[in-house]
Structures are given as C-alpha cells and as structure tokens.
C-alpha cells in the first residue's frame, strides 16, 4: 500500500532504532559474526558478566548477566568479546550519517536512536513506504539493521520503531495505535512498571483511561509525562545538529599489533566503513588523521595528506601505509582512530566546445592512485619556485584550468632549447689549464671539453646563515668559508660541450670550490 502525503499532516517524523547497539556495532566491524553465537562481556576474566548476547547464543541458552565461565559451560564454542565503546560510537555516528543523507533536519536521540523530519521529502521518494524502504537500505549499506517508525511526533515514532520492523502510523490514528501497545515496550524503570502492573495496567490504552491528577499525586511528575505521551500530547520540535565535516572511526584492539600487515587489514575495514558513510552524504575523503594508541598510553598521531579527494579505499590505504612505512610506530598498537576530512566532490563538467579533458571524478581517482603508486610528493604540477636559484622548483596539486588557453600557437622554424635537470647535482672533477676547464670526470661523465661558455655568476640568499644553507662542519657547527660567503649560494655557471656528445650545464660552487653538473641541454 502506498501512502500518499496528506495536506493536513505536514509534520512526519521517522525514528531509526538500532537494537542492542553494542552487538550491532561489533557485527558492523566484524561481518563474519553476523550469524554467529557470540556475547559481549563487561570486563575481562572468567568472572566478568555478559552484557549483550546475540540471538543465536540466546537460542542456545546463554542469557545476559551470566558470567563468562557459566556461558562457556553452556555453549563451549561461544565467542566472547569485550564491549568496545569506540565501535559503538562509530556505529552511532554512522546511523546519524544515514539520517543526514536523507533529511536535513536530524536529531541525535542517543546511542542507536535517530529522529529525522520527513516533511517535504515525498516529492523525492514518492511516499512513506518508499522512504522507509530506502532508509532501511541505507542502514544496511553502513552494515547495520534498524527498526523504523514513522509518526506525527518523535515519541510515537520511537514507540512505533520499538514495535519492530517498519511501522508507519497514519496521521490521526496515533491514539488508536497506542491503545494496544504493551507497557514493557516503553522500557520503564522496573519499580514503576511493577507498580502499574499491580494496578492492572498492561497496555498504554489502559493507562490513557486513568485520571492524570490522581496518577500524578500517586506516582509523581514522571507519570504525568507518561500520560502525555500515551495520549499523544507530546510534540516537541527536533533538536537539529549541525552536519559533521569530520568522520571518525575508532577501534580498540584486544591485543597490541606489532606488524604493519594486520594493521593494514584493520585500516582497510575502517576505510570501507568510512567511505560508505561518505558516499551516503555525497562526499569524498580528503585529508586523513590517523591516531594510534600504543602501550603505556602513548599516542602517535599523524596527518596523511590526500592530494586528490577520493573514496577509493585502495588508494587511501596505500597512502596511509606509505606514511606508516616511512615512520613506523615505535611500539605495538592497541587502538586505532581514523578521521577523515570530508570534501565535496568537484562539480565541474567538460565544455562541449573545448578539447576533451579528463572527467573530474575519474581524474581525482587517477591522481589518488598515482599518489599511492609513486608517493604524494611525486605527482602534481612542477613550477619554478620564487628563488634566484636556477634549479629551485615547487610542486603543487594538479588542477588544470577549465577554460581555453590564452596563448597563441604559431608555427616556428627554430625550436627553443630545454634543460634536462640532474637532481641532485652530480659532483664532478674538472681539470683546468690557465683557469679554463679542459677535462671533466665524474661518476657517469668522463670527457674532454670541446667548447665552453661562461662563467655566469649567480649568487643569492646571502641573508641565510651557513647552517640554513647546509654548510656545516663534521660536528654540526656552521662552517664559514675562507672567502667570507657565509650563507646562501654563489655559483659560477658554464655551458660545456664535451666530446661524448653532450652539452652540460656545469657550475663551480664558490663556497666549497667544488664542481657540479646540474643539467644537460637536450
């Protein structure tokens, strides 16, 4: 049945409810536990009590509040894990992300419970049946199962969700729905529930028939609030929260990990879950912050720069592993927290009347893959740096302009020469006669000088100290050359044609009186 929107009920609230969030969070992080018999203990050791028990374990006879030893006696192959608050928080955040991907007005109702305003969304999804189906699909996308209730107020939507599955309460039929709802669905305190049971009240309809004043004088203000709820008189607005820009997943490990490879598997799972959340919101992953907690409460926090925002897990993981390999943690890792700075994907579109260019999304993915393959510092656009050094360069992220180029293309008859840089400059030995270089000998060059031009002196950065310029002695102190050039650089450049067929750019460092080749004209 497709429920059409009605004009007299503009306010429709949906409640997403994940039952037993700790269990759902554990299954989300370990999908192989979905149909397994497992339980979560509060604390460690054989005397620790079980807090939550999965449905297969419950069917096998394990119940909450048993000790670990008792549960193991009942079901010998029962998997018992410790409660993980970090996973629960991540699961709760994922549920909020689902709601925010659906509606702009969302209230966090506590762990595993989210309210969202459905007003005005009928045009997008067609009806409340379609909306509930889509919400359920998105919750499954982030690795959980949720009960969904839709009603005119958030309390009734919550009660509807507590009934299980998907329950939509039509406008104006809230009282009719509440009549038969059993009292234990509200999750009241045990003594209140007992007191009401003594009065013979088992359903909300029975409670609604009582007098508010009499019940209030007997049971206090809490009972009055309960009566208002039962009579459908609650209707507070949603407390909206600002959509987050940083998405976080955290996991606490049972034992310290000392190898990069298992850490990679854990990071991969976290990235899978994070990118699923980002995709729901139409966002892509930007810079990452990886926080590793080690033994002795030591923390290793590092920022992994992502040149091109992407949701491709393989590339993101490769960049993190590159960073970890470069500077590995000093000790075993006991907890991992991964935060992602969300970015909006580039909304550019190619022009029909311009030459073809890479599609923006594919380009971003390609750049991320290239960064993972070659390292983030080795992919981008190379530009001359603002320096007097002829070999100074800087790398910036690749972002080609969208419009056509302004430069004109003219046919020429002579070509302009370019230099092939040698990085870092290669030291050579130059033999001179009367001050003129005659022979060059180095690791890969050994040839006579045929023609030579120069020297052309370049010097600068005199304001830098000798240490900043890398001119230091063996014990690390600043070394001031005899010629007084304390900092910066001073080079005499030559162009030399050697008899091996190459034309080289060679310079003599005036500070150290050594010779270097820093380029080949080609």
């Amino acid at each position: 049945m497709n429920r059409a929107p009605t004009s007299d009920s503009p306010r429709r609230i949906a409640c997403l409810l994940v039952r037993e969030l700790p269990l759902a969070a554990m299954v989300r992080a370990n999908p192989e536990l979905r149909d397994a018999a497992f339980a979560l203990s509060i604390g460690t050791g054989p005397r620790a009590a079980l807090g939550f028990v999965s449905a297969p374990a419950r069917r096998a006879g394990v119940v909450p509040a048993m000790t670990v030893a008792q549960a193991s006696a009942v079901v010998p192959d029962l998997t018992i894990l410790a409660c993980n608050p970090a996973l629960e928080q991540a699961a709760a955040d994922a549920l909020i992300d689902v709601a925010e991907s659906f509606s702009p007005i969302v209230e966090d109702g506590g762990p595993g419970r989210v309210y969202l305003d459905l007003a005005g969304l009928n045009g997008l999804y067609g009806g409340e049946d379609e909306m509930s189906a889509e919400l359920a699909r998105r919750v499954r996308q982030v690795g959980m199962e949720a009960d969904i209730g839709i009603a005119a107020s958030k309390d009734i939507a919550w009660i509807a969700a507590r009934c299980g599955g998907v329950r939509i309460i039509d406008a104006g039929r809230e009282t009719e729905f509440l009549q038969w709802v059993p009292l234990e669905l509200l999750g009241l305190e045990v003594d209140v529930e007992l007191q009401l049971e003594r009065l013979g009240i088992r359903r909300l309809g029975d409670l609604a028939r009582l007098d508010v004043r009499e019940l209030g004088s007997r049971m206090g203000a809490g009972a009055v609030e309960l009566m208002r709820l039962v009579r459908g008189q609650t209707g507070g607005p949603l407390n909206c929260r600002r959509p987050g820009e940083i998405f976080t997943e955290k996991i606490e490990l049972d034992y310290a990990i000392e190898l990069l490879e298992p850490l990679g598997f854990i990071l991969r799972g976290m990235l899978d879950r994070l990118t699923a959340r980002l995709k729901l919101r139409g966002l892509v992953a930007g810079d990452l912050t990886l926080s590793l907690e080690m033994a002795g409460r030591r923390r290793d926090e590092r920022r992994v720069t992502i040149g091109a925002a992407t949701n491709e897990v393989r590339s993101l993981l490769a960049l993190i592993l590159l960073d970890l390999e470069k500077s590995p943690p000093s000790e075993g890792v006991e907890a991992v927290q991964l935060s992602v700075q969300a970015r909006v994907s580039r909304p550019a579109q190619s022009d029909m009347f311009l030459p073809p260019a890479p599609a923006p999304e594919r380009l971003q993915t390609t750049l991320a893959r290239l960064s993972a393959l070659c390292g983030p510092d080795n992919v981008g656009t190379l530009l001359p740096a603002n320096s007097h050094r002829p070999d100074a360069i800087k790398r910036v992220d690749f972002a080609p302009p969208c419009g056509p180029s302004q430069a004109q293309d003219h046919a020429q008859t002579v070509n302009r020469i370019v230099l092939r840089a040698i990085r870092p400059p290669q030291e050579v030995e130059v033999m001179s006669s009367r001050g003129v270089p005659q022979f060059v000998r180095g690791q890969h060059i050994c040839a006579r000088v045929v023609s030579i031009a120069g020297p052309w002196r370049r010097q600068g950065e005199w304001w830098k100290t000798a240490l900043e310029s890398g001119n230091r002695t063996a014990n690390g102190t600043a070394k001031v050359p005899q010629n007084g050039l304390a900092g910066g650089f001073a080079h005499d450049y030559y162009e030399m044609a050697l008899d091996d067929g190459g034309v080289y750019r060679v310079y003599r460092d005036l500070r150290s009186d050594r010779w270097f080749v820093d380029g080949i004209y080609d």
Partner: protein, 321 residues
C-alpha cells in the same frame, strides 16, 4: 535558438580546437602537431593520436626540446598533458620558456616505494614490519583488486643506467603502471614517457597493452628513449642526432661608438643543430630526414662566428667575466 544556429557555420566550427566531425573519430591519421614547421613536415602533420611514437637519441640530441614543443602546442590548444618522468629531469623553468602552459601538465615521477607490488622488504630499525619473521607472504590488504597489474608488470625486466639498481627496484613497474593509469583515465591529449637514459626492456605484451590503451583513449603517447623499446607497436620512430653544438664568439668592447676597440672575445652557447630521420612510420612513408636548430634564445640569435677560436683566445674567455 534556431536563429543562433546559422551563425555558427561550418567554417567557425572548424576553427574551434575541440570540435571535429564524427567520422574523424574513426580516422587513424588524426595528428597532434608541433609548432615547429620542420617537425610537422617530417612527421606529415605531427604524431598520431591513439598511437605510440618514439623519439630515439642520445643525450643532447634535442629530443626533450621536441617533446617540449609538442607539450607546448598541446597545452596552448587547451588540452592536458601527462609527463611520466623516470629520470626526474623535468625542468619547469626552461619548459615554461619554451611555451609550455605548466598548469596543464601533470608531472609524475615514478620509482618511489609503492604498495602495488606484493613483495616488500622488512622495515629496518622498527618493530613494525610488513611480514612476520617466518616471511610467509600472506595476502596483502591491498591485493585482490588489481590482479592483472602484477601479471603485466612482472614481465618488465629492469636494467637501469646510470643508476644501476637491483631488480627489487620498482621504478620500471611503477613507470608502466603510471602510464596505464593515465591512459585509463582518458582525456589526456598527450602522454610523454621519458625513459631518461635508463635502458629497460618493455615486454611485447606490455607494449601491446599500452598500444591498445592508447588507441582506446585516443591519447598520443610519445616515448623519449635512447634506443627503440616498443618494437612493432610503435607507429612512428624518429632517430635524432646532434649535428653540432652552436657556440658563438662575440667581440666584447668596453667603449661604444666608432672608436670602440675589441678587448676580448665572449663565448656564448647558442643552441644545438639537430638532424632527424624518420626510421619507422606505419601510417606513411619513412626514410625522410630533416634538420633544424634548437636555440637558447631564438629571437636574439645572430650567429657571428661558427669557428672555434684559437686555444689562447679560449683561455682568455674563461676569466673574462
């Protein structure tokens, strides 16, 4: 809308750089031209799009300058270029002077540590390593998605010069993999693969794979090599040779005017003279040759003296400035 359409005639559409008729997409002789007339004449219009072309030559033969010319003309047309720079030799200053719009050039330097290959060494000075002590290569967290990648790249044999590295070096692997990624992305007008002076062999299957990907993406692939590496899969192969390095010697005068006297000669490096032979051309005639000059400053070039001065003159130049 109907009134605006006749104003865009066939002639004006032809003038737009990115607009071409549908049937031109299937033509195999679409060319990417340079801005240098002798090269365009030699190559019958330029290098073919969707094909692999090779420029073969030793150091200082002018192959990087020709590549810069192609990059410059491609970026000026508004297209995007990728340069895979194995030797880390890309010099942005002289490239910009040669007319390259650097903002449209994606520079990629392969050869750094990457996690695409399944084999890794143990990390030193750290308790964390990629493999445990028994060294059993368990499935990597990164494996399982690009199975074809390691297959193709394992066929690359690696011999690097001048930096002779061990076979564990992943530069050639990431070099070819980077080229594949660029071609997969599509939309690049030109892909430059600068091998530097390294001589590693591309296997036939890898070359075929690159050629197929270039054809699919309609990207012109230009390889700068010291010897042919693609064999039959290169549509075009040009041999370059340095004819001579041009140095000019000018008389330097301390005074200006009619009574000026030459004090000493000043040597200037003017550029290179290059000869080229079209050694292989699968879509046209081959065997033609051309000659041109590659100059430091084409606008100011005035050749005064081609002859090398006597030794004692050259000796004075060294301390002339």
């Amino acid at each position: 809308m109907a009134a605006a359409l006749p104003a865009v005639g066939a002639a004006s559409l032809d003038a737009l750089p990115g607009v071409f008729k549908g049937r031109e997409l299937t033509r195999k002789d679409r060319r990417l031209s340079a801005s240098l007339a002798p090269i365009n004449t030699l190559l019958e219009g330029g290098i073919p799009r969707g094909r692999i072309s090779e420029i073969v030559g030793r150091r200082s033969c002018g192959k990087t300058s020709i590549a810069a010319n192609f990059i410059g003309s491609t970026t000026r047309r508004g297209e995007v270029v990728a340069v895979i720079d194995l030797a880390n030799a890309f010099d942005p200053s002289t490239m910009a002077e040669a007319g390259v719009d650097l903002s449209r050039v994606l520079w990629i330097r392969p050869g750094q540590s990457s996690f695409s290959a399944p084999s890794f060494c143990r990390a030193s000075n750290s308790p964390l390593s990629l493999f445990p002590d028994h060294g059993d290569p368990l499935p990597s967290p990164l494996s399982g998605q690009d199975e074809g990648e390691s297959q193709v790249l394992s066929q690359v044999s690696c011999q690097l010069w001048p930096c002779r590295r061990s076979l564990k070096d992943r530069s050639p692997r990431s070099f070819l993999r980077a080229a594949e990624l660029v071609l997969e992305a599509g939309g690049f007008g030109l892909l430059i693969m600068d091998f530097g002076e390294s001589i590693f062999t591309i296997s036939q299957s890898s070359a075929l794979r690159l050629a197929r990907m270039a054809e699919r993406s309609a990207t012109a692939v230009l390889m700068l090599v010291t010897r042919p590496v693609c064999g039959t899969f290169a549509a075009l192969s040009v041999d370059l040779a340095l004819t001579r390095a041009i140095f000019s010697y000018r008389q330097n005068c301390l005074r200006q005017g009619p009574d000026a006297k030459p004090m000493h000669s000043l040597a200037l490096f003017e550029g290179l003279e290059t000869s080229a032979t079209l050694r292989r051309n699968k879509i046209g005639r081959c065997g033609t040759s051309a000659r041109w000059r590659t100059l430091v400053n084409p606008s100011d070039f005035i050749l005064i003296d081609h002859q090398k001065p006597r030794k004692n003159r050259a000796a004075r130049q060294g301390s002339s400035i």
